[in-house]
Point group: C2
Chain length 331, copies 2
């Protein structure tokens, strides 16, 4: 197994180091480091090393830490969106599960976010007086992500898929998205319904178990997944998969956490959950033994025993949390 690794910025190297040490001991793999991100840009003047795409393509998958995308200062192309486009990672899968005593309410939702279209397409123009961005939704893209969501729901034994939209305002773009969703839904024996994006944000916070599988266009999914992470209790607990036809990348959903970077207290669990999702994906393709669920069980047991980093009110360090997880995996 060859895993490409981008450590990322901020807390990235710490949580990646901890996660690789777990993977090395638990499963063994070759890790191929790819340099990228803000720190790399500052040193080398480019956001990602030359031939990175080719090097990654030679691996079985990519494990990635959080990479800073510039909001000010010298601008460079976002490594996140670059990788999504190069590998056509059209589905961003983000599971949110509550933990007793930590979460604001009960949640057990898989959010499936379309990952290549919408306002992320890169079409913006401006003149003196105004700027215009284009929100693009294609029929093929909407159908493909709908198929993905229903297949995932079926595979995971889920009963209901809810499409998120703002069709009351965006009649054409979200209309096209919803129409594709219901066309695809008719081929599956699962409950399909829809919810307006603002109401979905409200329900995530207000109700227990508001949603089962959520399917969203790109930007709504970006925002709602952070809201769902708030409900879980810490974004540091949440991992994600970005999946294409023949390649996939796995990362925590949190950012670079510059304020706590280098202190050894970042929560490694989002990264470890991402790694567990990677093992699931590799296993489905016959490239890894079945180990994802075991890792998540070990994570659960460590959280149950309140071995927590400061974002969750604990005083354990990154390394200590990972060592405890490794211990449970040995049992």
């Amino acid at each position: 197994m060859r895993i490409a690794v981008i450590k990322g910025d901020g807390v990235g190297p710490e949580i990646m180091g901890a996660t690789l040490s777990l993977l090395e001991r638990y499963i063994g793999a070759d890790f191929i480091e790819i340099k990228a991100g803000k720190s790399y840009f500052i040193e080398e003047g480019k956001p990602i090393e030359d031939n990175a795409i080719e090097k990654i393509r030679e691996c079985d998958s990519l494990l990635k830490g959080p990479v800073a995308t510039p909001t000010k200062g010298p601008s460079y192309p976002s490594v996140n969106t670059l990788l999504r486009r190069e590998f056509k990672l059209y589905a961003n899968v983000r599971p949110f599960r509550s933990y007793e005593g930590i979460s604001i309410r009960r949640i057990d939702t898989i959010l499936v976010r379309e990952n290549l279209e919408c306002l992320y397409y890169g079409w913006e123009v401006e003149d003196e007086d105004r700027a215009i961005a284009m929100r693009v939704i294609t029929k093929r893209g909407a159908e493909r992500i709908s198929e993905f969501a229903f297949n995932l729901a079926k595979r995971e034994g889920r009963g209901r898929v809810t499409a998120i939209h703002k069709r009351n305002i965006l009649k054409r773009t979200d209309g096209l998205f919803l129409d594709a969703f219901y066309r695809v839904a008719s081929k599956f024996d699962l409950r399909a319904d829809d919810e307006i994006v603002d109401a979905a944000g409200y329900k995530l916070v207000k109700l227990d178990n508001a949603f089962d599988v959520m399917l969203t266009p790109n930007l709504y999914g970006d925002i709602l997944s952070d809201v769902a992470a708030g409900v879980v209790g810490s974004i540091g607990l949440c991992g994600s998969a970005q999946i294409g036809e023949d390649f996939a990348a796995f990362e925590p959903i949190h950012g670079t956490g510059e304020d706590i970077a280098g202190k050894g207290v970042a929560n490694p669990i989002g990264m470890i959950i991402a790694a567990s999702m990677m093992l699931d994906w590799l296993w489905e393709r016959g490239r890894s033994p079945k180990r994802g669920e075991k890792i998540r069980e070990a994570v659960d047991s460590v959280i149950r025993d309140r071995i927590l980093t400061p974002d969750l009110g604990g005083d354990f360090r990154t390394e200590q949390v990972v060592e405890k997880i490794v211990d449970r995996l040995r049992d």
Copy 2:
């Protein structure tokens, strides 16, 4: 004082009836009913009565219930966006305040949402394979709403204004918005900072008192205000003002609540808070005695005494809650 009134759909007539009965007894005013909304459309085949705009313009302000905007079935122009555009209601002001024992965490935030631009502009095109919506941000619009937010912050004794954006992806549109924000900020003696929209959604849920005044482009404000309402504990508690140069409209931020409509159990407080904001606005223009704060104090005291509708776990009816508020106002 002449107040134009749109009762709205679903729970609209109930909560409006209760609110008008309070206003009548507490302050006195002429109410001019304007027919509009889904129920009106079904009867009359038009979303709003003829000459509505002229009739409303002859009043001092508009008090409005929730009006359904169609997501499916026969489509008609949204009354909400029609009114916003006709009266150039460029600022949507939504205060969120927590109540002990009800709210998920402490919050005391005023969200100021740009109300006329962004994806609400109405520019969408489509062909067989794709649909495109245009997100428009103008320099003048961004400056005007920034001025509004800082002036409001100053008037309300707030210390900090945070602009919400996704500049890391939308470099031009949100770049223009943020640049305008910081240009305007330099003229005020208040703290100004910014936050990425997804992180803002997370912080609202995860942290106490994450924001003071929030300034948002249209769609982000739409979504984040529902998230903030979830943190408050019920969207039924939240009112809003939509303000233009010379006119303003006031409404609860919740929808039509079709599932509970006609049962007499809808929470009237969002509508009453909206009415209290209307009295503030009329008072600032010398058209009403100062009564807004008194109404909010009576609301607080009723909530403290747990006189609550079912959305908050109580078993009081709409009318009963309003009568209790009227009693407190008499004290």
